[in-house]
């Protein structure tokens, strides 16, 4: 009697076709996402600001930038094409080399009156911290996975450890 509960094995080429279709679809999304600027926020970018700064004075903008230095409640940051822009009204803690995300109103003389500043990286050490912790994450994920699974090279699939018939 045929066991109807167990799906038949799938040929390698069938799996390859499914993988190819999914990756091509993902590629299509990756083109479409960029074509429609799905990730673009409704603010001028630094290139636009640098070229036509005065046009945008008074507008609400968002900038991510690296901190050059701090003077009281003012930050001087570098953001893309803007080599030095002043952010006023900052009360948090950040070191030179840290990264901030600023939401505020563009003012004359290359200044932003900040309404909200998110300290993305408090200092240059934060980059190392994030990548080091993510490295530990990679080891954790792979260790956990290969404790329970192994690779069967005969049919190129993962097999649960301890299973002989999958």
């Amino acid at each position: 009697m045929i066991d109807t509960d167990t799906p038949p094995p799938v040929h390698l080429w069938t799996r390859a076709v499914v993988i190819l279709l999914c990756l091509v679809s993902l590629g299509g999304l990756s083109v479409h996402y960029d074509a429609i600027d799905a990730g673009k926020r409704p603010y001028p970018d630094t290139g636009t600001l640098d070229a036509e700064y005065e046009v945008h004075v008074g507008e609400d903008i968002v900038l991510y930038g690296t901190v050059i230095n701090r003077q009281d409640d003012d930050l001087h940051i570098r953001s893309g094409d803007l080599t030095d822009i002043r952010v006023t009204g900052f009360t948090g803690e950040v070191q030179p080399g840290g990264v901030v995300a600023v939401d505020g109103t563009l003012q004359e003389d290359r200044t932003i009156a900040a309404s909200n500043v998110v300290v993305v990286n408090p200092g240059p050490w934060a980059f190392t911290y994030k990548y080091a912790v993510s490295g530990v994450g990679v080891v954790f994920i792979l260790g956990l996975f290969f404790r329970s699974w192994s690779v069967s090279f005969t049919d190129l699939t993962f097999r649960r450890r301890g299973d002989n018939d999958g």
Binding site: S25, A35, I36
Partner: protein, 162 residues
């Protein structure tokens, strides 16, 4: 994007708690779900391959952001599922997708300066940037500390209560 260890531990904890109610979620499937939590991080391939290089080959606009969107994780979970035997496809896909969606939700909770996250619901909501509660920034070690503490509690409960 939160660090990879935080994503992995969140998936591990949620799936472990899920295993208390759902019979088939055993250790192998928790491990697969934890792997799924890394899918959105595949966007980091942009560090190795500049999207402009791809654009110059294709002659089309291109971004590596899509692995960190709902459409991207649906497709990449399917790709990885093909690495499992046919009998395991359904469970593999559910576990991978659960881990990946948990990471997307975790990233949505981050602080953004204008209070709106990236459009991670793409392509189902093309350019919609959901309002975010702004709970944390990735570089804050307290985030990882809290997640490690919660994971430890879950492990202790799993070990001694169930």
């Amino acid at each position: 994007m939160a660090d990879l260890l935080t994503h992995a531990l969140v998936a591990f904890s949620v799936l472990t708690v899920g295993s208390w109610r759902v019979e088939w979620i055993r250790k192998p499937w928790i491990a697969v779900g934890v792997c799924g939590s890394a899918i959105p991080d595949l966007m980091k391939i942009k560090i190795l391959v500049d999207p402009e290089t791809i654009e110059s080959y294709l002659g089309l606009p291109f971004t590596w952001v899509t692995p960190a969107t709902l459409g991207g994780v649906l497709l990449l979970s399917a790709v990885i599922t093909m690495g499992f035997p046919r009998t395991e496809w359904r469970r593999a896909y559910v576990a991978l997708l659960t881990g990946a969606v948990l990471s997307l939700v975790g990233d949505w909770l981050r602080a953004f300066p204008d209070g709106h996250s990236d459009p991670w619901l793409y392509p189902f909501l093309l350019t919609y940037r959901p309002p975010t509660p702004g709970l944390y920034v990735t570089s804050d070690p307290l985030v990882l500390g809290v997640v490690i503490a919660v994971t430890t509690c879950v492990l202790l409960l799993d070990r001694y209560r169930f």
